[in-house]
């Protein structure tokens, strides 16, 4: 892991002012992504992982806003940028892949036109050169007969092929970081496998870092180097993927791993590990640790103080079990 | 009991709709005006300063009195009198009764017809759907006024002469009602097509409910939203249509003048100088229709989930 992180998120806080009060959707989240690394951000719905991604790309929908914290890309602050300056960063240095390939592409323009436009907007090349790069990108993402496909419209591609085009678009301007928000959720299992492999391979080849946001631990296991687990807008655990999956420290992560059905590992009808209750709504987060009402290992301190990410092994876990002085 | 009502009221006040209402001064004004018009029309017999249709109270010599603030006016007749000595303010109040009554009744009829046809069309589909929608398309190629005139004319031919006046109001309601069902039907049909494919409808089918039960109990409550908005704005259109028909002389009989009739009668005197006999009913009509329209606009925006 090299010295300067590519992306640094420090104490990020995303709020939504509503007429019933302010909702804190992301609360004091910090992590870093090294160049070329794949960081998985995993959590269930409402955990705040998509909003974290949106905040980084600068696509937070008002009234949502970044209320505190800093986001630094290659050392420069980007969280306070607006308008034209943000636009130049987005697309050029940060690429984005969203969940629905159908709505990510403009149905009125051919795939070739969209690629060329993106390349020309961000790179100082001639039109011919842009066309050549577009062709190369299409073949890199595994689209057969790319020359002919350049002139096709999005609806002429199948779901899996469209997502490949979206990946090509994200890579077009040679970004340093790609934020992928649930890129495989809408796809069939067999296509999912292909797309995951593609993303991982391309990231390695181009040296692009990837922030992979998903609720699917399996996808993380296949693709990520490190993983951040989010719960109720906070960071529960952060560490190397092997460690978090095989040795989860935070009780939530442990519960999550136990709840995931695994093929062939257990005998049929075995009870899955169940975490009772549900993730608290944003306006009803309990004091102390957000997970404490559902935690089998809860003790006194958990209901009173909110835990900081504490080092344990190679990972960080926001849990009082790992404080040296706690009891 | 009182506590329950109070708590319901408090929740209603806090509701998104009430909050959006409170934020818009234009809407509050429109609502107030609509309420004032409706109130004075409803309670006309008690609220109006005079009864313009009781010939015993009429005084021909009081005819053509100008409004109270002009030099020949009198405080007794606030907005002046017409040629027969009837107080203009009172005739407006009574006239608004007819206008509002016909308007509301026509909208109710229209909505019932349109919603039913839209539901059947959307849910049952097939040839029934094609037929109803073609009829709707054909009807839409005619202006609504023409349709209303057509129906009015046909019923006049069908009914014996002496019954004309008695049934005029009902015929009017029928005419305006039939001319307006298409917008409800189209909207409801669209919503029904969407709801039909939702899983709660499929669940009801699996449970074994018949198509009519499903349409009535499951689909209808979910497609009524836009109907309310269309209906509110339609009230304004219906009132105008009635006024137009009455102005043309084929609406309500002169014994029960609506605002439209009043405008027509007053029109005769406009250029001889007695402007107040037509202008005030005209203004009343404008205020009524405008406030209902604004209320409908607010309702449409407030209920639109995309704008929230």
């Amino acid at each position: 892991m090299s010295a300067t992180p590519l992306l640094e998120v420090e104490d990020l806080r995303v709020e939504f002012p509503t007429r019933r009060g302010t909702l804190v959707a992301v609360d004091g989240v910090s992590f870093a992504i090294a160049p070329g690394e794949v960081l998985g951000v995993v959590g269930e719905s409402g955990a705040g992982k998509s909003l974290t991604g949106m905040a980084i790309i600068g696509l937070l929908e008002p009234p949502g806003r970044i209320a505190a914290g800093e986001i630094r890309l290659e050392g420069e602050r980007i969280d306070h940028l607006r308008g034209e300056r943000m636009r130049r960063i987005r697309g050029r240095r940060i690429g984005a892949i969203f969940q629905d390939p159908l709505t990510s592409l403009n149905p009125l323009y051919t795939v070739g036109e969209q690629l060329v436009e993106t390349i020309l907007t961000h790179l100082d090349v001639s039109r011919g050169e842009a066309l050549r790069r577009a062709l190369q990108l299409l073949s890199e993402v595994g689209i057969p007969a790319p020359q002919a496909r350049l002139g096709h419209y999005p609806h002429q591609f199948s779901g899996g092929m469209r997502q490949r085009v979206v990946i090509a678009l994200a890579l077009a301007a040679e970004p340093r970081l790609i934020v992928a928000d649930e890129p495989t959720t809408a796809l069939d299992v067999s296509i999912q496998a292909q797309i995951i492999a593609l993303l991982r391979g391309l990231a390695r080849e181009h040296g692009t870092a990837v922030m992979l946001i998903t609720h699917d631990m399996g996808v993380i296991a296949e693709t990520a180097d490190r993983v951040a687990v989010m719960y109720a807008g906070r960071l529960a655990e952060l560490g190397p993927v092997r460690e978090v999956i095989h040795q989860p420290r935070h009780p939530y992560t442990a519960g999550l791993m136990g709840a995931i059905p695994k093929v062939g590992a257990v005998r049929r009808h075995a009870r899955l590990v169940q975490i009772d209750g549900a993730m608290p709504r944003l306006n009803a987060i309990p004091p102390g640790c957000a997970f404490n009402p559902r935690c089998p290992k809860r003790f006194g301190r958990c209901t009173a103080e909110r835990p900081e990410p504490l080092p344990v092994g190679d990972a960080l876990a926001s849990c009082w079990l790992y404080a040296d002085d706690s009891r | 009991m009182a506590a329950a009502v109070a708590s319901w009221l408090r929740r209603a006040w806090e509701h998104d709709l009430a909050w959006s209402f409170r934020r818009s001064p234009v809407t509050i004004l429109a609502a107030f005006l609509t309420l004032a018009c409706v109130g004075s029309a409803l309670f006309a017999p008690w609220v109006a300063p005079h009864n313009p249709f009781d010939s015993a109270t009429l005084n021909l010599t009081d005819g053509f009195t100008p409004p109270a603030w002009t030099d020949k006016g009198s405080a007794k007749y606030l907005l002046g009198t017409d040629d027969q000595g009837r107080d203009v303010l009172s005739t407006i109040m009574y006239g608004a009764r007819i206008s509002l009554g016909v308007g509301l009744a026509a909208v109710l009829f229209s909505a019932t017809l349109g919603v039913s046809l839209g539901l059947l069309s959307g849910y049952l589909g097939g040839r029934l759907d094609t037929f109803i929608m073609r009829v709707a398309d054909i009807q839409l190629s005619f202006p609504a006024i023409l349709i209303a005139l057509l129906i009015d004319g046909m019923t006049r031919i069908a009914l014996p002469r002496d019954m004309h006046d008695q049934l005029a109001v009902y015929v009017l309601v029928l005419a305006i009602g039939v001319s307006g069902w298409v917008q409800y039907a189209r909207t409801v049909r669209g919503s029904t097509l969407v709801e039909k494919n939702k899983e709660y409808v499929q669940a009801a089918r699996v449970i074994g409910r018949g198509p009519f039960a499903i349409m009535l109990h499951h689909v209808l409550p979910n497609v009524m939203g836009p109907v309310l908005v269309i209906g509110t704005i339609h009230v304004a259109t219906a009132i105008i249509t009635e006024a137009t028909l009455s102005f043309l002389g084929v609406g309500v009989p002169p014994t029960q003048p609506s605002l439209g009739t009043l405008i027509r009668i007053g029109n005769n005197f406009l250029f001889s100088g007695e402007w107040w006999i037509t202008v005030f009913p005209g203004l009343a009509l404008v205020v009524l229709v405008l406030s209902v329209n604004l209320l409908g606009d607010w309702l449409r925006d407030a209920l639109n989930p995309k704008l929230r």
Partner: protein
């Protein structure tokens, strides 16, 4: 307890076509032909009383259509469905009466409950329609009992669906499905729209209810891991056809059909064992123009001339059935 001698549901060569032709006018003007989509093509299987049969496959394989054919949401185009030994389509069968013994749970917890109805009315609907409660009081008691059974409180009956989370709504769906005392439950991807931890709760609940009430499940899913936890037998579908049908333990230990193997390989490896896997090839072809012969042949590494021309039948192989020429010929 599974009664293998008593098939509760039998599907025999079931088929369903959808007419996706352009409107009549367009066809006349453009001279375009009628287009029929064969969503389900010659599917046969039994579900024994007390068992859980899972149907797996990717989008467009027809598994949801099979579910809807069984409960009667779509009419059959071909074939026969028997419930408790009686043909549901035969004129002298009281199909409506038989269908009262089956219910369905849907995938989308947000669209499967009428947003304008209170929960108690939603759950009570089958009770009312089937006339199972003599008085209002009995009905209310039944609803309360059902809500408790699925892990909710009786007071929740007064609320509206939007006040509940996805997992809770799915519980309400289950309560509704159970209120008519069905024997057979068709579950169309009931946990696909739920978070992992909620999914675990619902799967545990469904297993518990099956044991307690002696239910038979047809469980539709695209998630093989979920299926491995809940199914006794598994049927794998591809492009409207059944390609493999076997006991769950057998299927997951030793899948025979090349498509099943491909699906297994495509499952993300949580163990991160680094096990070698065959990369997945190609995409599901357009169901409007299925390949000739075996539907899977364009993506199959073992396809030969026979596969390209002749459609394989579901034949017994080892402890299950496979529709594959390569397996039948012993090449695989």
């Amino acid at each position: 307890m599974i009664r293998a001698d008593r098939p509760l549901v039998r599907l025999i060569e079931v088929g369903r076509d959808f007419d996706v032709s352009k409107p009549w006018l367009n066809r006349v003007v453009e001279g375009a032909p009628r287009l029929m989509l064969r969503a389900v093509d010659g599917v046969s299987f039994d579900v024994s009383q007390g068992e859980t049969l899972a149907l797996v496959g990717e989008s467009g394989c027809g598994k949801s259509t099979v579910a809807r054919l069984i409960v009667g949401l779509y009419p059959l185009s071909r074939g026969r469905i028997e419930f408790d030994g009686r043909d549901l389509a035969a004129p002298d069968t009281d199909a409506a009466r038989l269908r009262r013994r089956m219910q369905m749970i849907f995938q989308d917890p947000y669209a499967s409950l009428n947003p304008r109805w209170r929960v108690r009315d939603i759950v009570a609907e089958p009770v009312r329609v089937l006339g199972l409660a003599a008085t209002k009081g009995a009905e209310r008691a039944r609803v309360a009992e059902l809500l408790r059974q699925v892990g909710l409180a009786p007071e929740d009956g007064e609320k509206y669906p939007h006040e509940f989370s996805g997992g809770q709504r799915q519980r309400i769906s289950i309560a509704r499905a159970l209120s008519g005392n069905p024997e057979f439950l068709v579950c169309d991807e009931p946990t696909s729209a739920l978070d992992v931890s909620v999914q675990a709760q619902i799967l545990n609940l469904m297993t518990e209810l099956q044991e307690r009430l002696g239910l038979t499940y047809l469980f539709i899913s695209h998630n093989l891991a979920v299926v491995s936890h809940i199914a006794d037998r598994v049927g794998v579908m591809y492009l409207g056809r059944m390609v493999e049908l076997a006991a769950a333990a057998q299927l997951f230990a030793a899948p025979r059909h090349p498509y099943t193997r491909m699906l297994m390989d495509a499952i993300p490896d949580l163990e991160m064992s680094g096990k070698a896997r065959t990369p997945v090839v190609g995409e599901v072809p357009n169901p409007l123009a299925p390949p000739a012969g075996c539907a899977f042949h364009p993506r199959c590494p073992h396809a030969d001339a026979r596969c390209r021309s002749e459609r394989p039948q579901l034949r017994p192989a080892a402890a299950g059935a496979v529709a594959c020429h390569a397996v039948a010929e012993g090449r695989l």
